[in-house]
């Protein structure tokens, strides 16, 4: 128990000791209970929220820990979603290869993230230019995919569909006694809950490992990190690929959940969303995980009940919460919970710095 906790807890994450893990277990149990008791619509709707959590966690990892603010999460989301759509449409549900399609999509995301990351980090691009380069990639993909309408833009049986996107591809399936069982509805929900939990714990372990230390070092001072023997470029690269692959995972899950993917998941407004979730929640992994679900729920609720004031209210809520908790609403909350357990290790309070350092005036 101790040694497991030692892996999961550390300077790079908030939350430690019994109160925290008790709460997390409760949350997990609650989520499972919800999946059993709630109506099928509510469950599916929650699956939808969970789908996005991976992308947000990925960003929290590369931004919160490593200081890389990428606008490219949506690009990899799109690549993941489109790859899954294309592969699964071509192979069809009968083939039972949807899982293979999902894995191959992830591989494609990893490969494209590696190519972009190599270009960016080993090409010496840094700071805000990383954000803008990734944004340009996202917008370029969106613009390109939007115009791929018509039969001439087809890969095998899958028409890219331009602005309309691709729809009606098969959901994820698992082979079961010679049959292919669709993972939709409740089974998808439980799968997602467990997968989110695994991803979360894995990222926590990674964050508190040497990798996490290295990323923090690079975020805080590349000069000093380099002088201490950290390979700055390689570390930035690894953080970027890990975060981007998680975005791709969200993308393919989204495609599997709704049997739909379209280019506007890569537009400017979509690209800003993960950044908003992470910044408003707090760049900590736990804060982001909880915050993303809450924010998605909130904005959906506003869209239902807020009529024309939905977006205005959403904007006001964001403004107020950032004014109130500049470090992120949920991060602030979590620190409260942490301090209930008594003042433990006084050293575990990193304040995060962003990659958007004030740029110098250049006159």
């Amino acid at each position: 128990m101790r040694s497991v906790l030692r892996l999961l807890e550390g300077d790079q994450t908030i939350g430690r000791g019994l109160p925290f893990w008790g709460l997390m277990s409760l949350l997990f149990a609650g989520a499972l209970a919800f999946g059993v008791t709630a109506g099928s619509f509510a469950v599916e709707n929650c699956s939808y929220f969970l789908v996005w959590v991976f992308m947000a966690l990925g960003l929290a990892f590369m931004w919160g820990l490593g200081g890389t603010m990428s606008f490219g999460q949506t690009a990899f989301f799109g690549i993941g979603g489109y790859c899954y759509a294309i592969l699964s449409t071509n192979w069809g549900v009968e083939s039972g290869l949807t899982m293979a399609a999902a894995l191959l999509s992830l591989a494609a995301v990893a490969l494209s993230a590696a190519v972009l990351g190599y270009f960016v980090f080993f090409g010496g691009i840094n700071g805000v230019l990383v954000s803008i380069t990734t944004l340009a990639v996202t917008l370029g993909l969106e613009t390109f995919l939007s115009q791929t309408a018509g039969p001439k833009w087809a890969i095998g049986r899958a028409e890219l569909g331009g602005f309309n996107g691709i729809s009606s591809m098969p959901p994820l399936t698992v082979p079961w006694h010679g049959d292919n069982v669709e993972i939709t509805g409740r089974s998808l929900y439980f799968g997602l809950i467990i997968f989110v939990a695994i991803t979360y714990l894995a990222l926590r372990i990674l964050a508190n490992s040497k990798v996490g230390d290295a990323m923090v070092a690079v975020r805080e001072s590349p000069l000093r990190a380099e002088a201490l023997g950290y390979d700055v470029k390689a570390i930035l690269f690894v953080g970027f690929v890990v975060g981007s692959v998680l975005a791709g995972l969200s993308g393919l899950l989204y495609a599997g959940w709704g049997q739909y993917i379209s280019p506007d998941t890569m537009g400017l407004s979509a690209a800003a969303l993960p950044i908003i979730w992470v910044a408003v929640s707090g760049k900590d992994l736990t804060a982001t995980m909880v915050g993303t679900v809450v924010l998605l729920g909130l904005s959906q609720a506003l869209a239902i009940y807020g009529s024309q004031y939905a977006l205005v209210s959403l904007a006001l809520i964001l403004v107020v919460s950032i004014m109130g908790c500049p470090k992120g609403v949920f991060e602030t909350l979590l620190r409260r919970i942490d301090s209930i357990g008594g003042p433990g290790d006084q050293n575990s309070k990193p304040v995060r710095k962003s990659s958007l350092d004030r740029s110098e005036v250049l006159l």
């Binding site: 110098e360 005036v361 250049l362 006159l363």
Partner: protein, 236 residues
């Protein structure tokens, strides 16, 4: 009431606990006063409080007027010239612009004498020789020289110096000390200086305070022979 600066029961800190715990200190007319103390004892904090860069309570009289409630830039315009620790230049502006920023403030601009400006430039040849270099690319000592020049050129009533000799080569340290003493003798320039270089203090200061944990623990007169006693005071 002849003092240029007088602090009474000054408390100041950074939001958390107070660092300065009731400092009393004065700088008389035409006086050079040094503040000594080990690392982290609150010297920089003291100067920042004087400059209005920190929230503080207590009294700060400057030229007979209470300035504790005034914002920083107003204090500076009344005649405080500051050299922060660690140079504090505007790193991506040119040397010339850095100097110009020191010269540009209303009252100072009006009273600027070109001969004085010339004298400063003579003292620091670097500011004419390198006037279009970006300040942030200069060597440590070069930057320090520009920072001192930027403060001097505004002809302040009180010079507030935080470890001005840091990183400067010995010959120039001597020249700067010499020049400040000259200003003090000829024009009655008052100076409040934090310095670790005992020779500089011995050469310049008339009086000094020793700060320990945010309090003044000692005050003494300085003359050229007191290097030893200063050293002792510092190792308490």
């Amino acid at each position: 009431m002849d003092d240029v600066l007088r602090l009474r029961k000054l408390h100041a800190g950074y939001g958390g606990g107070a660092v300065l715990q009731g400092v009393d200190l004065r700088v008389g007319r035409a006086e050079i006063v040094a503040v000594l103390g080990r690392n982290g004892m609150g010297k920089t904090t003291l100067l920042k409080a004087v400059m209005g860069l920190l929230p503080c309570t207590g009294e700060i009289l400057f030229l007979g007027q209470e300035i504790a409630k005034l914002p920083s830039h107003v204090r500076a315009r009344r005649g405080l010239g500051y050299v922060p620790q660690g140079r504090g230049l505007f790193p991506s502006m040119t040397v010339a612009d850095n100097i110009a920023a020191g010269l540009s403030i209303g009252a100072i601009r009006r009273s600027r004498g070109d001969t004085f400006k010339g004298a400063i430039e003579d003292l620091f040849p670097i500011i004419t020789k390198r006037k279009s270099q970006i300040a942030g690319t200069m060597s440590g000592g070069e930057q320090q020289q520009v920072a001192i020049a930027r403060a001097l050129i505004g002809k302040p009533s009180l010079l507030v110096l935080d470890e001005p000799s840091e990183g400067i080569q010995p010959s120039i340290v001597q020249r700067i000390s010499e020049a400040i003493r000259q200003l003090n003798e000829d024009h009655g320039q008052a100076v409040l200086i934090v310095e670790q270089n005992i020779e500089v203090i011995a050469a310049l200061a008339q009086r000094c305070y020793v700060v320990e944990n945010g309090r003044v623990v000692d005050e003494m007169r300085v003359d050229r022979t007191s290097v030893k006693s200063l050293q002792e005071a510092l190792s308490v």
